[in-house]
Symmetry: C2
Subunit: 179 residues, 2 copies
DNA sequence: GTCTATAGGCTGATAGAC
DNA sequence: GTCTATCAGCCTATAGAC
């Protein structure tokens, strides 16, 4: 039996935190309530996480890593199909949709984790992938509507089957880009 | 000289609150900081507003009223052009863009003000105006991307000239709808 | 690893003087 | 209308026993 790479309790804490955040929002999810849901006391959390900020950072990191990896991959390949790129982006946000929901429902958490600049960079890099390094305002708005829409649909239509949602969302986003 | 219909201090409080909320988010804008910015003490706020919730409600209400009025007007007129409807919606969000930004940066404030159901109703009513009473998932995603995009662009491109932004945003939203 | 107990600070809100 | 003083309640975080 392999030794678990991460503590099981830490994993349960993360899961409870994500649950509670989905229900009440980031700011409203206190360590007391998270601990209660796990069935331990608040100080016990501090054995697994140095601070509330570290816990949140650990929740967001997998999404951040995957988006960074995706963008690096897209930027290294010279030719792109817009639908392929947006599809890959949709898949990432969908895979991490609990975190995506958390970030979209309260973007201020990003600033608190010093990730505002990172996410702002994502927007510019995606615009560059779609329209080159100096997009016009018309192109910026289209990229904003398309990419923002991917996230919106990911977190809004949680009951729809994945394949159907993916197709419908990408159809809408590609129509926005005029492709 | 006409007596002012609303207290001047109350107006300064509202302005300071909106400023601070734009900078730090709703949850992070405390009454203490708002009072500080106005140049009065915290208890003095309570002479003008019964509670923090009442202050927030007063900020959001003008946007709520204008959207309700717009939707009622659109629903009462039998024939519609999509670009006209979206344009009218854009104008409302732009006119109240400080509040729009606040709501989009932290939608949970709506739930706290018991407005979540109201705003959810807006989404359904707009979808009905665009696609009839029972839109398919494909139509729902297109409406979501288009309408969400209007709000996103309103708060994101604050430096762009109004006319140019309006045209670019509506072009993108109408392309999303396939019109 | 988890507990009890507690420190220290911030919050929204109130009482009562001026 | 605004102030000082204060309250109760919540928060994050730590100390130290087991």
């Amino acid at each position: 039996m392999p030794r678990p790479r991460t503590s099981e309790t830490a994993e349960r804490i993360r899961a409870a935190a994500l649950e509670l955040i989905a229900e009440k929002g980031v700011q409203q999810a206190s360590l007391r309530e998270i601990a209660e849901r796990v069935g331990i006391t608040k100080p016990a959390l501090y054995y697994h996480f140095a601070s509330r900020e570290e816990l949140l950072r650990g929740l967001v990191q997998p999404l951040v890593d995957d988006v960074e990896e995706l963008l690096a991959r897209l930027e290294s390949a010279p030719s792109h199909d817009a639908r392929e790129m947006l599809g890959a982006y949709f898949d990432v946000t969908y895979r991490h949709r609990a975190i995506t929901k958390m970030v979209m429902q309260d973007p201020s958490v990003l600033a608190h984790l010093d990730l505002a600049a990172v996410v702002d960079g994502w927007r510019r890099r995606i615009q560059a992938l779609l329209f080159g390094p100096a997009p016009t305002l018309a192109q910026q708005t289209r990229a904003t509507v398309a990419v923002g829409g991917l996230g919106d649909c990911t977190v809004m239509f949680t009951d729809a089957p994945f394949d159907e949602l993916r197709r419908a969302t990408l159809d809408a986003a590609c129509a926005t880009l005029g492709r």
